[in-house]
Symmetry: C2
């Protein structure tokens, strides 16, 4: 079929991934040194160009696999960034995604080869282009998501204690949460199930491990669920 849109201009289309991970009670973010010009060597989000036959989601997935070695990663679209001057080398429109991954599961070797490094989300270095703005928007989105449904399935190990989950929420919300109230609220959502195993590494008494229920995807409408 002939191209009916010939009169219009074409654009480079990129994806940039804000990769969130959780480790040592901190929400972290994977950055690498940009391997190409311009701004080669500057701290940057993981990015890549969108191919002709892939969706933006596929491109983001591909970028993630190349940099973390992980497939099957949770992705959420954030927004498109299209300031004509955002990339000094050319007009590139970038669609940002955020990803949630379990730090312990990714391919540390591959990450290192990419010159990548995990950073506490509150202590990141200066970033190239408009990547700081992208990160800010991604953080907002993650907060919003966390307030609408219980997140953690993609960030925590399969089994985790309620304290670990609370620390994650504290890192996302950037404020402390009452342990007792958090426990009651989270359990009332009925999306977790208790396991028989205990974790004794973080307390003398030991805390039961929980896991996400298999069918824990029944969140109602646009009603905010996690006030916490």
């Amino acid at each position: 079929m002939k191209d009916l849109y010939k009169a219009h201009s074409k654009h480079y289309l990129a994806v940039d991934c804000v990769i969130f991970g959780y480790e040592d009670y901190e929400l972290k973010l994977l950055l690498h040194r940009r391997p190409i010009e311009p701004s080669k060597g500057g701290w940057s989000l993981m990015g890549g160009f969108c191919g002709n036959n892939e969706t933006l989601e596929m491109a983001a997935t591909r970028v993630l696999e190349q940099t973390t070695g992980l497939t099957d990663i949770y992705l959420e679209q954030v927004a498109a960034f299209s300031d004509p001057g955002r990339d000094p080398a050319a007009r590139v429109v970038s669609v940002a995604f955020y990803a949630l991954i379990r730090i312990d599961q990714h391919d540390a070797e591959k990450v290192k080869n990419n010159g990548a490094q995990w950073w506490n989300v509150n202590e990141i270095p200066p970033l190239i282009f408009d990547h700081q703005e992208i990160v800010s928007k991604a953080k907002e989105r993650l907060q919003m998501k966390a307030s609408l449904e219980l997140v953690g399935k993609e960030l925590l190990p399969e089994k985790f204690t309620l304290m670990q989950l609370r620390r994650l929420y504290e890192a996302i919300y950037q404020r402390e949460l009452d342990p007792g109230n958090f426990r009651k609220k989270v359990l009332s959502l009925n999306v977790l199930e208790k396991t028989n195993t205990k974790n004794t590494t973080e307390s003398k008494k030991g805390a039961f491990n929980y896991r996400f229920r298999d069918d824990s995807d029944q969140i109602n409408g646009h009603e905010r669920v996690i006030k916490i």
Copy 2:
């Protein structure tokens, strides 16, 4: 400067606008018959291609002015849609926006010349391509926005009664709201101010008109404000 990205493919970039308006107690949506092939004549969102030197927001603004005659329109980015087959004629990535406009203020002449028509948001005809999906996502976003802050400034006339505002929320939320509770909640937000004028067209007694306060943009963080 020479193009450093030559190896990568370029793509057509379009914007599609979901134009919300409010009239006769109904949330409406402006559609037109697509003026070009493919799917010429099919019901479609207002769209256009992004130029080389404009942001996507600028492109959307331009499209809106061409179709409604209005400048200075409230716009919110929804998402990018990038299925390679979404447009049968070519690979076109589209970034969707929703717009809020006052139906009485737009250029009815221009709209008519565009073969455009307002539709109740729940009774729209079959749309071309993936526009139905775009509309669904835009509706979700509008609901979310309406629950985070008081909307209406862009949809209602400058002066409006609380009943009109409530009907708007009922149209957005798709459920009835208690008149007394709605009034108390909305006024407690402290973003409206009472005017001296009354509207007697909708009740025998007559209801005071309200308007949005000039400085009514102080919404706190990501805290949900409008539970309603």
